[in-house]
């Protein structure tokens, strides 16, 4: 995962970037909701040039799942 994306992802979840290892459960962040999902779609577009769907992203349970979705894993 690119560090810049990780930093922005952590900011969106309002957690420390250091916490975002692949096993981090997204729902452990109180911020993981439909608003944050759109923010993360935008971040993935900005950092990876990829378009991911809201449904696909909402099915991700962990940071590892997001990495796989982006194709970073």
């Amino acid at each position: 995962m690119k560090q810049e994306f990780k930093d922005d992802f952590a900011e969106a979840l309002e957690v420390d970037a250091g916490e975002l290892n692949p096993d981090y459960v997204l729902e452990d962040s109180e911020m993981w909701d439909s608003m944050t999902i759109v923010t993360v779609i935008a971040l993935i577009d900005e950092h990876y040039g990829k378009t991911v769907g809201g449904e696909e992203l909402s099915e991700c349970k962990t940071v590892g799942d997001v990495e796989r979705l982006i194709g970073e894993n």
């Binding site: 608003m35 759109v38 935008a42 769907g53």
Partner: protein, 336 residues
């Protein structure tokens, strides 16, 4: 392939908003302080104007009166178009009511166009075509929506986003004006992304709902709208720029439909324009649907618009972009 319109003059734009302001703090009692803090940060929207009974037509007619009061004889207007998805009635057309309220002649064309966020640019295109075909020589395009009146009070996906506004734009034929170029697009497979179920005569299963939202209230799928806006729209704008041989960096003014700051910044990045060069009045007005482009424009009354791109996109799904060198036009803004 862009559509070219010659000899079209944008004489004036006027906008009108309801006087009632609703701030994010005021919405915190419904949605929570923390949620509204995050909402403001993510969308850039801090307050919105909310109708206390004024209709889209009321707001747009008030805007038109600003233009008329400044030296435009009512009998010089020979067509009126009303663009809205919150009209006065299912029937008659609101444009017919506008003809009467504005004291225009009876030997003129008046009709409605049902489009949302893409509606302003489509309105300019259709009016421009009427001028080019000599159906009319001076046209009022009234464009407005009161989306707050169809939002569910407790739907965080819609209620904080929208504000209400109306507008009037006066167009006429004039030799020697810079050409206008238009791109248009439609994708009805996305009809369910922004929809008011049960608001018409469709069979109940025509477009399935995935979410629980009251019939008669606006439903919007935020993530699919974001994906649409940040893929189709920059693609279309870039194709238009390429056809004209314009670089994003040479644009003087970009006015995108004011959906939210995240969408604006993403589109700006993809068309090679600094986000600071895109007009943004979201903080004050929120998303005002089809009126958002003219509303953004009238907030800069002294601006030299120059080489401009106006792009509206949203419900339908529908999108349209106008590319032109815009000379100075008269600009008005009011509230009722």
């Amino acid at each position: 392939m862009l559509e070219r319109l010659a000899n079209t003059k944008l004489e004036a734009i006027a906008t009108c908003v309801p006087s009632r302001v609703v701030t994010n703090d005021q919405l915190a009692s419904t949605f929570g302080e923390e949620a509204m803090r995050r909402f403001g940060k993510s969308t850039g929207i801090m307050q919105r104007r909310v109708s206390t009974g004024q209709s889209s037509l009321d707001l747009s007619v008030a805007a038109a009166e600003c233009i008329i009061a400044d030296g435009v004889p009512r009998d010089s207007i020979d067509a009126v178009i009303f663009v809205s998805q919150t009209p006065e009635y299912l029937l008659p057309a609101s444009a017919a009511i506008a003809q009467h309220r504005l004291g225009l002649r009876c030997d003129i064309a008046a009709f409605d166009l049902s489009l949302g966020c893409s509606g302003y640019v489509y309105g300019l295109l259709v009016a421009g075509k009427l001028l080019a075909g000599k159906t009319a020589s001076r046209i009022l395009v009234l464009v407005g929506d009161t989306i707050t009146r169809i939002c569910s009070d407790d739907d965080r996906a819609t209620r904080p986003i929208f504000g209400d506004a109306g507008s009037a734009t006066l167009l006429s034929t004039e030799e020697g004006q810079p050409d206008w170029f238009f791109q248009t697009g439609t994708d009805g497979s996305g009809a369910g992304a922004i929809i008011v179920h049960g608001s018409g005569f469709a069979s109940p299963d025509a477009i399935p709902t995935e979410e629980t939202i009251d019939a008669g209230r606006l439903f919007m799928n935020g993530s699919s709208v974001f994906n649409f806006a940040t893929t189709r729209v920059p693609e279309a704008i870039n194709a238009g720029l390429a056809e004209l041989g314009w670089e994003g960096t040479t644009l003087d003014t970009v006015v995108l439909h004011q959906a939210n700051t995240l969408i604006l910044n993403t589109i700006a990045r993809k068309i090679g324009v600094a986000k600071e060069d895109c007009l943004n009045v979201l903080d004050r007005f929120g998303n005002t649907s089809c009126a958002s482009i003219p509303l953004a424009m009238t907030q800069y009354p002294d601006r030299k618009f120059g080489r401009s791109v106006l792009s509206g996109f949203g419900v339908g799904l529908s999108w349209a972009t106008m590319f032109s060198d815009l000379p100075k036009f008269r600009s008005y803004h009011t509230e009722i």
